[in-house]
């Protein structure tokens, strides 16, 4: 898949198919899409030089009740799981202009794993079926928040 924002449409479709196979509900489907979308958007916009035609590989593993996505890119080394990235406290007079993507990805995924292998970034996102229809915000708190 070429690393351009136009590819996000196909990504959404692929995530949707995986969700159907796994039998995930609406909320879980949404947070899976959000996590995968944010991470891929970052590879496209930050991982590769602008206007370069980088390549992104997608791998998906699905069984009843869970979906795993592995995103492989050849861009800048970047670990989306490292560093404290609390949501910036929003002051109406001094709003942050960005920095929401990684926070949303980390809050949405049930697991987020990163490894650098040679020239590759390998990022894994896992979402499991949740017991309740709507997962409370606190229950999705990433490890670094507790």
């Amino acid at each position: 898949m070429p690393a351009t924002v136009a590819s996000l449409v196909a990504v959404a479709e692929f995530v949707g198919g995986a969700v159907a196979v796994a039998g995930l509900g609406d909320k879980d489907a949404y947070r899976l899409r959000l996590a995968v979308d944010e991470l891929i958007t970052n590879v496209i916009t930050h991982g590769y030089p602008p206007a370069s035609a980088g390549e992104i590989e997608l791998h998906s593993s699905v069984s009843d009740g869970w979906v795993l996505f592995l995103i492989v890119d050849f861009g800048t080394e970047f670990d989306p799981t490292s560093g404290h990235r609390p949501i910036p406290v929003v002051d109406p007079d001094d709003l942050p202009v960005g920095g929401f993507g990684l926070s949303l990805a980390r809050m949405s995924a049930d697991r987020l794993i990163y490894e650098r292998v040679g020239e590759l970034n390998r990022t894994i996102v896992v979402v499991r079926r949740s017991g309740r229809d709507l997962v409370a915000h606190d229950d999705r708190r990433p490890p670094w928040m507790s």
């Binding site: 924002v5 949404y30 958007t41 916009t45 993507g101 809050m107 915000h137």
Partner: protein, 105 residues
């Protein structure tokens, strides 16, 4: 696909949004907001009834709206579905923007 329709009524501008607001569609949303900002409305209403998805790229648009429109101007999000509203809340933006949700049983 993302679509936005502008409705002006008195001092209020309403943007009726539908489809997916992600990094692909965010630039055109941004453009619309820029256009609206030049009209200096009293109130900006973002009607999200038809919006099925928003990512941080879309949230950035909301931040931009809040910043571009003057301090005395109200920015209201309405009709967002549970997932979209939750995503906006996850960014803490409800402190700067009014989010009006409707629930029906």
């Amino acid at each position: 696909m993302f679509q936005a329709d502008l409705i002006t009524s008195g001092d209020t501008v309403t943007i009726q949004m539908s489809g997916d607001l992600d990094a692909l569609s965010a630039p055109s949303f941004h453009e619309i907001l820029q256009q609206v900002a030049t009209r200096s409305p009293k109130k900006l209403c973002l009607a999200m009834h038809g919006l099925s998805y928003i990512s941080s790229a879309g949230v950035r648009g909301l931040v931009f709206a809040r910043q571009k429109m003057g301090d005395d101007m109200e920015v209201v999000v309405e009709g967002a579905n549970e997932n979209v509203a939750e995503t906006i809340r996850m960014t803490g933006l409800q402190h700067a923007i009014t989010i009006r949700e409707s629930f029906s049983a």
